[in-house]
């Protein structure tokens, strides 16, 4: 009866945890009790509970852990690249069309993204070249240039913030990972003690440890091995963080001098190459696609400043002055338009010779820079170089999207397999419950039958 009662308790445990995804169903294993020799033969003494076994596939567990690292990596990568895409702000919007049916890129209002503003800058130089004495055309040029410079500044600053956010998230994830490492080493300790003391597996503690391990795998890639005493040895990047019940080392985010955080072992000091999990994803995106984007924009801004100024400074303004620059600054964050041009557009140096207000030769040569290939920009024009920067980002994000979708498909498949092995099936548990209940009733019936027999025996004597 006690055996059946224990079985019912285990069934109750399974039912209670039916919706707990980290729980692996448990099963009672019965064993016949030791028989005793009696006159006339060896007689059985009933049943005892041999063990409560956890139904778990460790191979599936390992696969799920590894897949969690992959998922963490690509999810972190995807979300930071989406951030970068939003902050870059280059979208296609054909709804904002000009009155002649062309798309919004060329109209002054509703222009989308820097591609249209780059086109607009050179178009404005064309307008000045065609009518150099027109002050409105000059004003429009300065305004267009200020918009473009402003966009460069804003995008540079926003992408710098994205970079900062990635560094912050690395710090946060390192703290979470260290907490999980400490939890796992504590659980190792308890599992070892419990299993040594009772001689049976500590099912629920193991479930909890597996859950912690999977949470850790989301943050960083881990290598694990199980020791004979039930403890889990855990390494990250080749350095053993947890072995036995001891927490050997923890993770530390440090600045190697470039302002971009990397990971090393806190005690041992060795640099760790984290290639999975959200920490790995953040580092990879920050130093890969995001760095490429920021560098590309800086190169573009720098070349624009250099080339435009080089052609422009040779020109003469309406008052006969020459030699001034059009753009100030050196990169995307610092590019600006020479102050004074906005208030006095007559200072725009459009003419190629002095004293000829209608000469727009320098303005024309600047306008023609739009079609010139730049050796420093992979022999592309300004517009194409910008387009390349956008395409690279788009490819990286598109790839991340695909990887995340793949990962989701694989994860849901593995989860289904694990549920199939370890998940609680209500039908099965309810049926088992009935079986154990009947067995309990049957055993109880034996007792009441023996009780009746004993009463008859006692009645015999008193009668």
């Amino acid at each position: 009866m006690q055996a059946q009662q224990a079985a019912v308790t285990v069934t109750g445990q399974n039912l209670a945890n039916a919706n707990n995804p980290a729980y692996a169903r448990q099963r009672v294993n019965f064993q016949t009790s030791d028989p005793v020799p009696l006159v006339g033969g060896i007689q059985g003494t009933g049943v005892q509970l041999a063990s409560i076994q956890q139904i778990r596939d460790s191979l599936l567990d390992n696969q799920i852990t590894d897949e969690a690292s992959v998922g963490g990596f690509w999810t972190a990568s995807q979300s930071s690249l989406q951030n970068a895409e939003t902050e870059l702000g280059q979208f296609l919007n054909q709804a904002a069309a000009g009155t002649d049916g062309t798309s919004s890129s060329s109209s002054g209002t509703g222009a989308q993204g820097m591609a249209a503003q780059i086109d607009g800058l050179f178009a404005a130089f064309q307008s000045v070249a065609t009518d150099p004495t027109s002050l409105p055309a000059r004003q429009a040029l300065v305004s267009q240039a200020q918009s473009l410079a402003g966009s460069f500044n804003q995008v540079a600053s926003r992408l710098s913030a994205v970079n900062g956010n990635l560094n912050s998230s690395i710090r946060t994830d390192v703290d979470s990972a260290n907490k999980l490492l400490s939890d796992i080493s504590n659980l190792n300790n308890e599992i070892a003690r419990t299993e040594a003391a009772t001689g049976s597996t500590a099912n629920d503690l193991r479930d909890l440890r597996q859950q912690k391990l999977e949470s850790l795998a989301l943050l960083t890639n881990v290598q694990t091995s199980t020791a004979a005493d039930g403890t889990l040895t855990l390494s990250i990047g080749g350095v053993a963080m947890v072995s036995g019940a001891k927490l050997n080392d923890t993770l530390q985010a440090y600045d190697p001098g470039s302002g971009q955080l990397l990971i090393r072992a806190a005690t041992a000091g060795t640099a760790l190459n984290v290639t999975g999990g959200s920490i790995g994803g953040a580092i990879d995106t920050r130093d890969g696609a995001l760095a490429g984007l920021r560098t590309g924009l800086d190169s573009l801004a720098s070349q624009l400043i250099t080339q435009v100024n080089s052609a422009y400074s040779a020109g003469y303004d309406l008052k006969g002055n020459t030699g001034a620059d059009f753009f100030t600054g050196t990169n995307a964050a610092s590019i600006g338009v020479t102050s004074g041009l906005a208030d006095d557009p007559a200072q725009v140096q459009a003419a190629g010779v002095v004293g000829a207000a209608g000469n727009g030769a320098v303005a024309l040569s600047v306008a023609r820079l739009a079609k010139q290939s730049n050796a420093s920009l992979n022999n592309e024009t300004f517009g194409d170089a910008y387009s390349q920067v956008v395409t690279d980002l788009g490819n990286a994000l598109s790839n991340a999207n695909d990887q995340v979708a793949n990962h989701q498909a694989v994860t849901s498949m593995l989860a289904q397999q694990r549920d199939s092995v370890s998940g609680v099936s209500l039908e099965e548990e309810m049926t088992n419950l009935m079986t154990f209940q009947k067995a309990y009733q049957a055993s109880a019936q034996i007792i009441s039958t023996v009780n009746l027999m004993l009463q008859s025996l006692i009645a015999m004597k008193s009668g």
Partner: protein, 312 residues
């Protein structure tokens, strides 16, 4: 395969999420008419689209350049016609002022020529908007200024402009010049409008001389010197009128070409980035049906699960 209780729910949630995201994407495409909104939708396609937009921007800019230049060329053409009228009248006077004309007549002609010189200076100093038409690129300065003596007769007209002309781009690496310098006595460069040594044109000086000869009654000088001189001026003017016509016609062609290019670029852009709305709506309605089927089937299964309890 053994099915656990959580398998149903997880599977349903995944499927519904997937279908919802498909529907959302289709709905966005239909409402914007674009297959590509963001770089991640189709990186290569976006690059092509941006390139097409740049070309369209270029075409529109050329169209604007042409429109600006057409105004200038038209104004210049009007001024040239007026100068031609003056030139014709000067020629008539030179022919009429022969030996048969009386001194009174000749003095009257002289006065008329003096008026014509001043009128011609006025026309030559025409502006288009803010800039002078016939100063070369020194278009902030009036091209001609006249000196008048005590009797009100013009004694000299000097040219204040330059002989430089502006190159204006109307198409890829294709420039045109609409500017005409009022005078070019340097012997090289663009042909001067009213004075050019290479072609014997010197309109104002010839008119001034005509006025002097008429005033002094020297009809022989008029016939031998002034008349041939004015013929050269007329030829020069005819050249410029014809040239102005050619420039206007070139500008018209460039305008049409730019317009056509804009249209074809817009079509190309729609092909790259536009969505086939009919197809998208069909797909959306299919997704909707699948979504409803998923919901319906899951509700049936959830009811079945409940019934296990009832049986036991």
């Amino acid at each position: 395969m053994r099915i656990a209780g959580t398998s149903y729910n997880d599977s349903l949630v995944n499927q519904l999420n997937f279908l919802s995201s498909q529907q959302f994407q289709l709905q966005t495409q239909i409402s914007t008419g674009q297959r590509i909104q963001k770089p991640e939708d189709d990186p290569a396609g976006l690059a092509t689209a941006l390139n097409l937009q740049t070309q369209a921007a270029n075409a529109q800019q050329y169209a604007q350049n042409v429109a600006t230049l057409q105004t200038t060329a038209t104004s210049a053409g009007d001024a040239l016609q007026q100068l031609k009228t003056i030139s014709d009248r000067a020629g008539e006077i030179a022919t009429s002022a022969d030996g048969t004309a009386s001194p009174t007549q000749l003095r009257a002609y002289a006065d008329e020529v003096n008026q014509m010189i001043q009128h011609a200076v006025q026309v030559a100093n025409s502006k288009d908007g803010e800039h002078y038409l016939f100063s070369g690129t020194k278009s902030d300065t009036a091209p001609f200024s006249s000196t008048v003596d005590a009797n009100g007769n013009v004694t000299a007209v000097s040219y204040q402009g330059n002989t430089d002309v502006g190159q204006r781009e109307i198409d890829e690496n294709s420039t045109i010049t609409v500017d005409v310098p009022g005078a070019n006595t340097s012997g090289s460069g663009p042909r001067g409008l009213l004075a050019d040594d290479r072609y014997g044109a010197d309109f104002f000086n010839h008119l001034i001389q005509l006025q002097k000869d008429l005033a002094s009654g020297d009809t022989a000088a008029v016939a031998q010197n002034d008349q041939p001189a004015l013929t050269k001026d007329e030829d020069n003017l005819i050249y410029h009128i014809s040239n102005n016509g050619i420039v206007q016609s070139r500008l018209d062609s460039a305008a049409i070409a730019a317009g056509n290019r804009q249209t074809s670029l817009q079509q190309a852009l729609t092909k790259v980035a536009g969505v086939d709305v009919t197809q998208a709506i069909t797909d959306l309605s299919q997704q909707k049906t699948t979504y409803q089927a998923a919901l319906a089937s899951s509700s049936v299964l959830l009811q079945l699960q409940e019934s296990v309890m009832q049986y036991l």
